[in-house]
């Protein structure tokens, strides 16, 4: 198959629209996305990889010049296992990864970069659902059970906004960060597929919502959903502990978090099973 040289500025199409298979060493596929006001370029040497990368970044096509470029290349095979290289702008990471590791790293870099470069939004590591015209924020680190609780809330009728990042503007409104939920394998592949399909089928671009409730939850098997109302400073610190770009954008971060802490209620919840916790959270609204 003849190879085709393609330059970065020429290609700006969805990967499944591109013809043929290209030579890995000379050509690549490219798409630009606008995420939280930051124009991100995504590049890969295979359309399938580019498709996966593009699905990790919610947002619309970007017409402006790209501010930052992320790339993933299928590079070689080691003992029949495929290996991948990743790059941030012109810098290639000095290692080759398996696909899952490479995508995980890229996702983290993309989120951090968007958080740092975004001029009008503060990104907080939190799940978000909408309920009765207000947003419920569930801040927490990776693996703290946010996605599980989010899915339980969605199953009870809440609107899905995000299971990973809360995108908050300067007026304290949270915007959707729509990406397929990142559910751990314990929930089961079927449950993951079902919830993803229902999310995709629902309103794809929900309206920004004022934050009504911030829930700092801790999982414990024996917990009985006991809750305690948080003081303003506790809500503030709870959010600050999960704010991605607090160090690089302290002025914006403090302003936005103050807006949320003043106008939203906060509770600390000792939660057990997700369905019961979801019920308790929705009753608080």
């Amino acid at each position: 198959m003849a190879s085709q040289r393609i330059s970065a500025s020429v290609i700006d199409a969805e990967p499944d629209q591109l013809p043929g298979k290209l030579s890995c060493s000379e050509a690549y596929y490219f798409v630009a996305r606008s995420c939280c006001g930051v124009c991100i370029g995504l590049r890969s040497n295979t359309p399938a990889l580019l498709g996966i990368l593009a699905r990790m970044v919610p947002g619309s096509r970007c017409e402006r010049p790209v501010e930052v470029m992320f790339s993933i290349y299928e590079s070689s095979r080691q003992n029949t296992a495929r290996r991948y290289e990743i790059a941030f702008n012109a810098k290639i990471a000095p290692a080759r990864f398996r696909l899952v590791e490479a995508l995980h790293l890229l996702r983290s870099y993309i989120q951090e970069t968007v958080a740092i470069l975004s001029r009008n939004f503060v990104l907080v590591h939190a799940a978000v659902v909408g309920w009765k015209g207000h947003a419920v924020l569930l801040p927490g680190a990776s693996g703290s059970g946010k996605s599980t609780l989010t899915m339980a809330l969605v199953e009870q009728g809440a609107a899905y906004y995000s299971d990973e990042l809360a995108v908050i503007d300067e007026n304290g409104y949270v915007h959707p960060y729509l990406r397929a939920p990142n559910l751990r394998s314990s929930l089961g592949q079927e449950a993951a597929k079902r919830t993803t399909a229902s999310i995709v089928a629902s309103d794809l671009c929900p309206e920004p919502l004022k934050i009504g409730l911030v829930v700092l939850s801790r999982y414990s098997e024996q917990a009985n959903c006991e809750s305690r109302t948080l003081l303003c400073r506790e809500i503030f610190f709870g959010l600050l502990a999960n704010t991605l770009a607090a160090r690089s954008r302290p002025g914006l971060s403090l302003r936005v978090l103050k807006e949320v802490s003043l106008h939203g209620r906060g509770v600390q919840l000792e939660r057990g099973e997700a369905r019961i916790a979801a019920n308790a959270v929705l009753r608080m609204m």
Partner: protein
């Protein structure tokens, strides 16, 4: 040497009854109450502790003792919110519990007690993993408040007993004066001794030192 606040690379954000001070040098966020914030604001290197106490009393519209200012300065020093000034020598720093007790007894608001809660502001990786430690004085502050509230309850319970002691002390004092007036010095001395004993019992119930 007078205390001087650090203001370089400090971001300030006000909450309803507290203020957040974010230190861009150490990447620590401190939540301070009005007492600590006013001390920090007024510590411009030209005011002594007593002058700060006077200013605070005027600004907060409440009696602010020298001990409160000393405790607030110590909190600020620990949080690295003061310029490089060593703690004053030969000055015994008051304990938070003692100040809380005095505020309770004096009928003053416990919100005057200096308060500071601090946390390390995370990097993006830390925020994602939640893997970092938070230093906070909040727990100690809550314990002190709880102790002070217990003191108040105890005071209220002792109040009736204290009033009786006071009345008895006054009666014995009056009896002593009458005995002295008619020349019965022995009886007068006994009455005055009893009056002193009852008055000291009342002071003890209120947590105050005896005469």
């Amino acid at each position: 040497m007078n205390a001087l606040a650090r203001t370089d690379n400090i971001f300030i954000q006000s909450l309803p009854s507290e203020v957040i001070l974010y230190d861009g040098n150490s990447h620590r966020a401190h939540c301070v109450n009005e007492t600590v914030f006013k001390v920090w604001q007024n510590a411009d290197g030209s005011k002594s502790v007593d002058e700060l106490a006077k200013l605070m009393s005027r600004d907060l519209n409440a009696t602010c003792s020298r001990e409160i200012v000393l405790l607030a300065l110590e909190d600020l020093r620990t949080a690295n919110l003061l310029q490089d000034v060593a703690a004053p020598k030969n000055v015994e720093l008051p304990s938070r519990r003692d100040i809380a007790r005095k505020l309770s007894i004096g009928g003053l608001s416990l919100s005057l007690l200096p308060f500071i809660a601090s946390m390390v502001v995370p990097t993006p990786a830390m925020a994602r993993s939640g893997n970092y430690s938070q230093a906070t004085y909040e727990q100690e502050y809550q314990e002190v408040l709880s102790e002070a509230n217990k003191d108040l309850l105890e005071l209220a319970a002792n109040k009736n007993g204290s009033e009786t002691d006071l009345q008895t002390a006054i009666s014995d004092g009056v009896a002593g004066i009458e005995a002295s007036a008619i020349g019965n010095q022995t009886a007068a001395q006994t009455d005055f001794a009893n009056a002193e004993k009852e008055f000291n019992a009342m002071l003890s119930a209120l947590g105050l030192p005896p005469l």
